[in-house]
């Protein structure tokens, strides 16, 4: 059955009530805890959420109030969101790995009065910034460990709150009051505020209504025909719109089951155990899975390695076409693919936990075409979509059979797209946001009067009507000589090599393109082990001449491919350096979703940028770093710079605007 929201069920609490009625005994949540997958049915969840809602009321959370939800994916945290929505309060999911300072900003900005957190770590974080959060009244926690001796005046275990609520609910008066709260909720109410850690500046609170979130969830559920038999594994930050739509909204809407892993460390095992039918993950998850595959296969016996390579090569040739239902594939190729399926592909899917996968989505960033094709070629129905928090995710999606690695698909159902003069993508859909919380100026900047939203990305439709995203609209620049410089585009090309983890390109208003490269420690250290390169630290490995040689080959290949594309030939990388430290969110170099913060990096490593353009061969730098526990330290390194020989640009049409 495909989910279509009953007109009366215009909020999630109402949908939960209906789930408890329609499918009371289907499993709603699972959590790997105490060695097994503890399960809760919709009927149980319904009961718990009602009790929880009463408990929250008793703690002073009321309609219009705000409660922060901080932690990894735990059923009780999802239930917090449900319970808060039930009584008309707004949940504000926060990234669990934010440092206290960031958290304080968001919580203060959102003026939350309550916070539901996972464990002692988060409680400690909140207590450490308590002075900046005068309005925070109560903290609720899921895991009691280590918290027993804390002052429990303002601290409550979620379990006891639910229990208290459950007792209160015996009274008919409270039941009626709770029912009234449920009925008071309507689709146009504010459902959630999701803070986006934008690439620049402070996080903005994107306000979404029940209508828009439910509409967006409907788009996804109908598009891929999700139903109550589906399973999803929830392991992405609950504050990310992707998780909120996929693991929360769609789960409630279609009644599917949400599986919460034991801990972030066990995610690989948990993912395999669950064998989700529906997954959503940013490209880096797929990247690291593939990297790990290749690294492990390096240790396999020669025979196995040859078999693996043979079948993977074959899959690269025909696998994707077979998945797309291409009838042109010969019977012999098909036979070999099926043999490979027995020997390699199906076991691989099993290891990835994708045996039962119906459809998987990747979004958030561009995925390397090779990586994307790899998964599709071994029979994983991986698709791309293009989305934003402001749109409640969905902007474009790839319909079955029309999947291309380099585009993000056609406009999603009920989404209108317009390409602006400067190439920027604008969209309008039922899922678009209400506005930025306490930032009307920004809201006005982003939303046009006729309801279109500026995506901030530059792109164009190809002949088949598929959207191709090049870069952030503001980031597409020009070199001094006027040639086009799309930094993201170049960076992504480089990042598709497993040895490269991050790239930051410079070139706007400059003579040529230069770039910083971060090596991938897993891939490169494995390579080092095989080739006998010894090193004592990341820094030493990054500065190793052989590593430089290897990266130089990658850069050269990228340059060659850029030279092959007429519009891009001018953007070949002239000089590069390998950074002496990993870019890190704790140092503010990456966002919490691991996106590069270009401006900040340019500022922080101004010396190195200068070195890229003044012709020097190396540069001594000292950088401040933040340790996991928040302490600061510095590291120094002599960073070398390599010059590249550029490929000649094929003559072609003069440079034109990237976006049509």
């Amino acid at each position: 059955m495909t989910a279509t929201a009953d007109s009366r069920e215009d909020t999630f609490p109402k949908l939960i009530v209906s789930n408890a009625r329609i499918r009371p005994h289907r499993t709603a949540f699972r959590h790997k805890d105490l060695g097994i997958w503890q399960s809760w049915t919709w009927a149980e969840v319904h009961h718990i959420v009602r009790a929880y809602a009463v408990g929250l009321l008793d703690l002073g959370l009321t309609r219009g109030g705000r409660i922060a939800v901080i932690g990894h994916n735990r059923p009780r945290l999802y239930w917090t969101i449900m319970a808060a929505q039930w009584i008309g309060a707004t949940p504000i999911p926060v990234y669990a790995d934010s440092v206290a300072d960031e958290m304080a900003y968001v919580l203060a900005h959102a003026e939350v009065t309550h916070a539901a957190v996972q464990d002692q770590e988060q409680v400690d974080k909140l207590l450490s910034v308590a002075s900046r959060l005068p309005q925070l009244e109560h903290i609720l926690y899921d895991e009691v460990r280590g918290l027993r001796d804390y002052d429990h005046h303002r601290l409550h275990s979620i379990e006891t709150v639910i229990q208290g609520g459950s007792e209160q609910l015996r009274s008919p008066a409270r039941q009626a009051a709770l029912q009234a709260e449920l009925e008071k909720g309507k689709g146009s109410d504010l459902a959630v505020i999701l803070y986006t850690s934008g690439t620049t500046g402070r996080p903005k609170g994107v306000m979404l209504t029940f209508e828009s979130v439910i509409a967006a969830a409907e788009i996804g559920c109908n598009f891929d025909k999700l139903n109550e038999t589906d399973e999803i594994i929830a392991y992405l930050p609950i504050a990310w719109v992707g998780d909120h739509i996929f693991s929360y909204a769609q789960a409630i809407l279609s009644g599917l089951c949400v599986n919460c892993p034991e801990s972030p460390e066990t995610i690989a095992d948990d993912r395999r155990e669950v064998g989700a039918t529906y997954i959503f993950a940013p490209p880096r998850v797929f990247e690291s899975m593939l990297t790990l595959t290749m690294v492990r296969m390096e240790d396999a016996s020669a025979l196995k390695k040859r078999m693996f390579t043979f079948f993977i090569d074959h899959a690269t040739k025909v696998g994707e076409r077979i998945l797309n239902g291409d009838v042109q594939v010969g019977w012999w190729d098909r036979a070999i693919w099926h043999l490979g399926n027995v020997l390699v592909y199906a076991p691989l899917r099993n290891r990835y936990g994708m045996t039962r996968l119906k459809v998987g989505y990747t979004a958030g960033e561009a995925i390397g075409p090779e990586i994307f094709r790899f998964y599709r070629s071994i029979g994983v129905n991986l698709k791309q979509l293009y989305g934003q928090t402001e749109a409640s995710v969905y902007i474009t999606m790839q319909p079955d059979g029309e999947i291309h690695a380099d585009t993000v698909g056609k406009p999603a159902p009920r989404v209108e797209i317009r390409i602006a003069e400067n190439g920027e993508v604008l969209y309008r859909s039922p899922g678009v946001f209400l506005g930025y919380y306490k930032d009307d100026e920004k809201t006005a900047e982003t939303k046009t009067p006729d309801g279109f939203v500026h995506s901030g990305d530059a792109g164009f439709f190809d002949a088949a009507g598929h959207l191709k995203i090049i870069d952030r609209a503001n980031d597409v620049g020009r070199l001094q000589d006027g040639s086009l410089f799309p930094p993201k585009y170049i960076e992504n090309k480089l990042k598709f090599y497993p040895n490269v983890k991050e790239v930051v390109c410079f070139g706007s208003e400059r003579d040529y393109v230069g770039c910083f490269i971060n090596i991938d420690l897993v891939a490169v250290s494995s390579w080092a082990e095989r080739t006998g390169v010894t090193y004592a630290s990341y820094q030493e490995l990054a500065g190793h001449p052989l590593v430089y040689d290897m990266i130089e080959r990658h850069v050269d290949e990228v340059n060659r491919s850029l030279a092959g594309e007429p519009r891009m030939g001018g953007a070949q990388i002239k000089r590069f350096l390998i950074l002496h430290k990993e870019l890190d969110a704790d140092d503010g170099e990456l966002t919490r979703t691991q996106k590069v913060r270009r401006g900040f990096i340019a500022e922080r490593y101004a010396d190195l940028i200068q070195a890229l353009y003044d012709g020097s061969q190396e540069k001594m730098v000292t950088t401040e770093i933040t340790f996991e526990d928040g302490r600061k330290g510095t590291i120094s390194a002599r960073v070398k710079i390599r010059d590249m020989t550029l490929h000649s640009v094929e003559s072609g049409p003069a440079l034109r605007e990237a976006a049509e």
Binding site: D33, L34, G35, I36, D149, E262, S263, E265, T266
Partner: protein, 266 residues
């Protein structure tokens, strides 16, 4: 680190009394006339230089050695010739200096073995693995999982303990002892060979066990700072004799202790 107030503690309540205990192996005197008591709910430390007879003392308490002289009274009952399994049944659990785990078993099974005493299903139910046998198995598995969670070792649940690093083995061993739900927990150098972080974890576990479950703990430890932080009262042995007994503060300032032990060790 440790809250000074212990509200649930009945300080006059003696759980175990060691009276005038001596132990000889042939001509070697391991213990000579040692007397002290352990009160319900406290953490009692036994310290002393190498060869002071600390481990022998624990061995006497849980019946592994039988004192040549003197007596040991546990829960008001005199015990002289007591087999270790009788001590275990009486509520004394124990960990060892050199980790005495069942190497081929997983963490889970090692802790499950600790539940053996609490399991009652008869042979024939066991044979069928049905009815009471399996119900009991599930019920105790739940308890064991709580212990695993408490000790934060879920990731090694199914690893044979022989393959675990030392620090984790010690944790599993503590888990096995906890599974017995003892009244008296004897810990023989629970932190030996651990790094700082592991020591802190272990100290936290010991305190939590003591406070949450009210388990009385007697421990031998070399690390003086740990002993002083952790314990309510300290017995100091030297060459098989007791030379001091009291709160950490008292012991610390005792001249003989400083001479015999602190002076030497530091």
């Amino acid at each position: 680190m440790r809250p000074p107030l212990q509200p649930n503690r009945d300080t006059d309540n003696t759980l175990l009394a060691v009276e005038n205990v001596s132990l000889r192996f042939g001509g070697v005197k391991a213990l000579t006339g040692v007397s002290f008591d352990i009160r319900k709910g406290e953490i009692r430390a036994i310290i002393g230089p190498n060869g002071a007879g600390k481990t022998s003392m624990l061995n006497c308490i849980n019946g592994f050695y039988h004192p040549t002289d003197g007596r040991i009274i546990f829960k008001g009952e005199m015990r002289r010739k007591m087999r270790p399994h009788v001590a275990a049944r009486g509520g004394i659990a124990r960990t060892f200096q050199n980790v005495a785990l069942f190497k081929s078993m997983s963490t889970l099974d090692n802790i499950m073995v600790g539940r053996s005493l609490k399991m009652k299903a008869g042979f024939f139910w066991q044979l069928l693995r049905y009815g009471p046998a399996i119900e009991e198995e599930v019920a105790h598995r739940k308890v064991v999982e709580d212990i695993i969670d408490f000790l934060q070792i879920p990731h090694i649940r199914r690893t044979p303990v022989g393959r675990l690093p030392y620090g984790l083995q010690k944790r599993v061993e503590l888990g096995r002892a906890l599974a017995m739900e003892p009244d008296l927990l004897l810990l023989d150098e629970p932190m030996a060979g651990m790094n700082l972080e592991e020591k802190e974890d272990m100290a936290r576990f010991i305190i939590e066990v003591n406070q949450q479950f009210g388990t009385t703990v007697a421990l031998i430890e070399h690390d003086m700072s740990v002993v002083m932080d952790l314990s309510d009262r300290v017995v100091v042995l030297e060459y098989g004799r007791k030379i001091a007994d009291g709160t950490p503060e008292q012991v610390k300032s005792d001249a003989r202790v400083i001479d015999a032990y602190l002076g030497v060790a530091h």
